[in-house]
Symmetry: C2
């Protein structure tokens, strides 16, 4: 079964917000900290929730590459993180599967680009589009060591420059630190 | 945005239950009537809810065929219906996208089989796998005229005989009539 993943933004939480910006579209109310878990924090200013789910575009050959470097969350060295909620346009969601796949990978090389960063950047894709009342389609989550933050910046820049990102109509970036 | 679709089983509702069987796995508690809408009925014995969502496997070429005969719900002549909640196995969901697509269409011809019935059987696919706490992956809904019920039986028999159905581990069939 899919696992629920809940991000609570507010005054408490293991992750301190270092920077919070609206990349595209409306901002989220600014918060000091974020807690990530299976349930909402009771005093949260806002809560974003979704579920881990099945692969949507990845082929068997691509899955073998991804599985060779499993994404491990909670590494002691990975004290920096990012929560990037994303919503794609109605035009994206109205495309048939093969056209979305072609934009995502054949044109944008989303999976290939991400694969190059697997050993440095742990990640988790949380789906919320199919949750009634959700404000985002995805809650993307990343963890990395402070020394690897420039690599993470590169990853974001490459993805945001891709044709796929023309379909992103709402994106908020929240950089986090759990070392302080 | 995805639309919420809610099925309330109980003593009230527009659709009278003609037959309710567990095809595979556990039954649902038997009910006399089902209401389909955007919200749950307050006195429901059970509620199943999900959302309409984007296409998961359909190609552009297949979408053109489907779009040529749009599925119209609520036709006055379509007084018979069926609600068939389905759950697929963890093995299915663990497969990469290309392998699921190959089983669904190249091996099982799910879209092609369904296409042959478009003019007779209106349908709606409601997704609930990504809803926290959902008991089913899909709530499949069908409407047809009484004279076309044998065609609907054929459609079900064809799909259930396909390789895709080896991955169905829970399936309940509820036949409905809103004429009585």
């Amino acid at each position: 079964m899919p696992d629920a993943v809940v991000f609570s933004g507010g005054a408490s939480g293991a992750w301190k917000v270092v920077r919070q910006v609206a990349v595209t579209g409306a901002p989220l109310p600014p918060v000091a900290r974020i807690e990530k878990g299976g349930k909402a924090v009771t005093d949260a200013a806002w809560v974003l929730m979704g579920v881990t789910s099945n692969l949507r575009y990845t082929t068997a050959a691509e899955k073998r590459i991804l599985d060779a470097t499993p994404s491990v969350l909670g590494r002691p060295s990975a004290t920096r993180g990012a929560l990037i909620p994303i919503t794609k346009s109605a035009r994206w969601w109205g495309l048939p599967q093969d056209e979305r796949r072609a934009i995502l990978e054949e044109q944008s090389r989303h999976i290939a680009i991400g694969s190059a960063y697997l050993s440095k950047v742990s990640r988790q894709l949380v789906h919320c589009r199919d949750q009634a009342g959700a404000r985002f389609d995805f809650l993307t989550w990343f963890e990395f060591a402070p020394a690897d933050e420039p690599r993470f910046d590169e990853l974001l820049a490459e993805l945001r420059a891709s044709p796929e990102w023309r379909f992103v109509e709402h994106e908020v970036e929240i950089r986090l630190d759990r070392g302080t």
